[in-house]
């Protein structure tokens, strides 16, 4: 998928570092200012948790007792601060347990990014252990979602996820990352997303409408 984002050219010219997809996920979260994230580990997301362990001085992970708790905690975090809440979970039941919180964030317009682990890409569609089509399940309750199957996609997709979650009318975004993408390697560099050509989060204020509104308010009766 070729993501049409602004400043793609300058992004391609930055210096890179060869790291794993899982490490890239953590580095992206840190770059987006996520200092506290909520989640529950499991098989399909273990590589990411392994990297979390190494970066624990820069990013604090809170282990909740249920993935639904992780989403609500991320929501509470987002509502009181205006920042993007982050919740992570493993595949299968871990991912499906996020749905209630995601639906809640969608209808109340709370900025949230959820990251789920997924079975390795060659197993997709085979009813593997803890495999669910979480992208299919979460489509009606997310502002945007996407499945990552190669490590190279990670930085741009996560940047897009945070941009979409927080811009315009905020909302939840789900990113599903296959285990092989987490283990895979990429030349990592990070650039925040500054725009998406098909997405206009903030309509321009129309001076005509503004004057019409002001006139109505000024002429309102005082009874």
């Amino acid at each position: 998928m070729d993501v049409q984002t602004k400043s793609k050219q300058s992004y391609l010219n930055q210096p890179t570092e060869r790291i794993s997809g899982a490490e890239a996920v953590i580095r992206c979260l840190i770059a987006e200012g996520a200092d506290t994230i909520y989640g529950y580990p499991g098989g399909a997301i273990m590589p990411v948790y392994d990297e979390l362990f190494k970066y624990q001085d820069q990013i604090h992970h809170v282990l909740t007792r249920h993935e639904q708790g992780a989403t609500h905690a991320a929501q509470g975090f987002a509502r009181i601060s205006g920042r993007v809440g982050v919740a992570i979970a493993t595949s299968g039941p871990g991912a499906t347990n996020l749905i209630t919180g995601i639906a809640d964030a969608q209808i109340d317009s709370t900025p949230m990014v959820c990251i789920t682990g997924q079975v390795p890409s060659h197993l997709l569609g085979s009813d593997a252990f803890q495999e669910t089509d979480i992208v299919g399940i979460s489509t009606p309750v997310t502002k945007w979602n996407h499945q990552i199957t190669t490590a190279e996609e990670i930085p741009e997709v996560i940047a897009k996820a945070f941009y979409i979650a927080r811009s315009g009318r905020p909302g939840p975004v789900l990113i599903d990352i296959t285990k092989d993408a987490q283990f895979g390697e990429l030349d990592f560099t990070y650039k925040k997303c500054e725009g998406i050509r098909s997405y206009n989060p903030i309509p321009k204020v129309n001076p005509v409408q503004l004057s019409a509104a002001a006139e109505l308010i000024n002429n309102a009766k005082s009874h």
């Binding site: 809170v62 905690a73 991320a74 509470g76 975090f77 009181i80 209808i107 204020v205 009874h223």
Partner: protein, 345 residues
């Protein structure tokens, strides 16, 4: 409010237009502000609901005209010119026909409209809100906040919390009767103070959400107000509080019922309390099992001191308050009725 609190306050003060809020909007301006006239919606205040159908201009800011707010749509503000400040174009004309739609970020559009507004006051109009508020006080609020009967009300617990919080604490409510009471009576000076599950109404929201809220703003007091039903949906998150030592204050208003459903069963289903009776465990022992400071209050005389102890603690604290079992939340707009048909009893 999209960080438009200052711009909003300026517009309200200059134009003199009374401001009401939905449960998602409360605390955008301090609840004590003289132009703040209360909450709209199914369990909102009497005045704002009735006068929605009498006003000549209705200004909606970042509002989606949810069915719990509008009641019967064909009978909602039909006499008014509707101005809708909104960032999402799909929301305009979705539920309510707009006369003027001002698209954009409220922070910008409110700042830009300020110079176009005349300085004004609407004292006569405001008086109407006050008159209706007096009626509501006599019939409902007095009994909620200053009860004379023996049983504790949810309202008086909120009153004690307000006394301690002085409008600074964030109140995280779950879903049900207690949520309506909390949204109606909690006092806020600082914005982003009310955190609740509005659109989806997810029970079990408050306990984990309070943890996230406290961690995001550790310097702010965070009080979770939860019913005995919702509490048990995510009760395992006490483990997260125990492990992280997040200094969250938890208040469970226990009426041994799924209160909101029971209220509807009383009003509309001849008191057939199907599956709404809750046989509850000893919440205080459970909290202590998670090494949390915990107390139970069953009498009025104990309430103030217990709330004070909770709010002054520097650590997590659990307070169970046993409230009147069959109290109902009023006012109420019955489902499918017009906002003008709001009932006081």
């Amino acid at each position: 409010m999209g960080e438009a609190e200052e711009e909003f306050k300026a517009v309200v003060e200059k134009s003199g237009v009374p401001a009401a809020w939905t449960i998602m909007g409360v605390s955008a301006i301090p609840t004590s502000h003289p132009l703040n006239v209360g909450m709209v919606g199914m369990h909102g205040n009497y005045g704002p609901n009735i006068l929605t159908n009498e006003c000549d201009v209705l200004i909606a800011i970042g509002m989606r005209f949810d069915d719990r707010v509008t009641g019967k749509l064909s009978d909602y503000a039909t006499q008014a010119k509707v101005i809708h400040f909104e960032i999402d174009p799909a929301e305009v004309d979705k539920n309510v026909k707009t006369d003027v739609a001002v698209l954009g970020n409220a922070k910008e559009s409110l700042a830009q409209i300020l110079p176009l507004l005349n300085k004004n006051t609407h004292t006569e109009w405001l008086k109407k809100f006050e008159e209706l508020s007096k009626i509501e006080f006599e019939k409902v609020i007095k009994n909620d906040l200053h009860p004379t009967k023996e049983g504790l009300t949810m309202g008086e617990v909120l009153k004690e919390i307000n006394a301690q919080s002085k409008g600074e604490a964030a109140i995280v409510s779950d879903v049900g009767q207690h949520q309506m009471i909390a949204c109606r009576y909690a006092e806020f000076n600082t914005s982003r103070g009310n955190i609740t599950s509005g659109g989806l109404g997810t029970m079990g929201f408050a306990l984990p959400a309070a943890i996230g809220a406290k961690m995001a703003t550790p310097e702010r007091e965070v009080v979770a107000v939860i019913g005995d039903g919702g509490y048990q949906m995510t009760i395992q998150e006490l483990g997260t509080i125990f492990q992280t030592k997040a200094a969250v204050k938890i208040v469970v208003l226990n009426n041994d019922f799924l209160g909101m459903v029971r209220q509807w069963q009383q009003l509309f289903f001849d008191k057939r309390y199907a599956s709404t009776v809750m046989t509850n465990p000893d919440f205080v022992t459970i909290a202590k099992g998670y090494q949390l400071e915990a107390k139970r209050v069953t009498k009025r005389e104990e309430l103030a001191a217990a709330v004070e102890e909770m709010m002054t603690s520097k650590e997590a604290y659990f307070l169970e308050v046993c409230v009147e079992k069959e109290d109902n939340v009023f006012p109420m707009i019955p489902s499918g009725a017009s906002v003008s048909e709001i009932r006081l009893e």
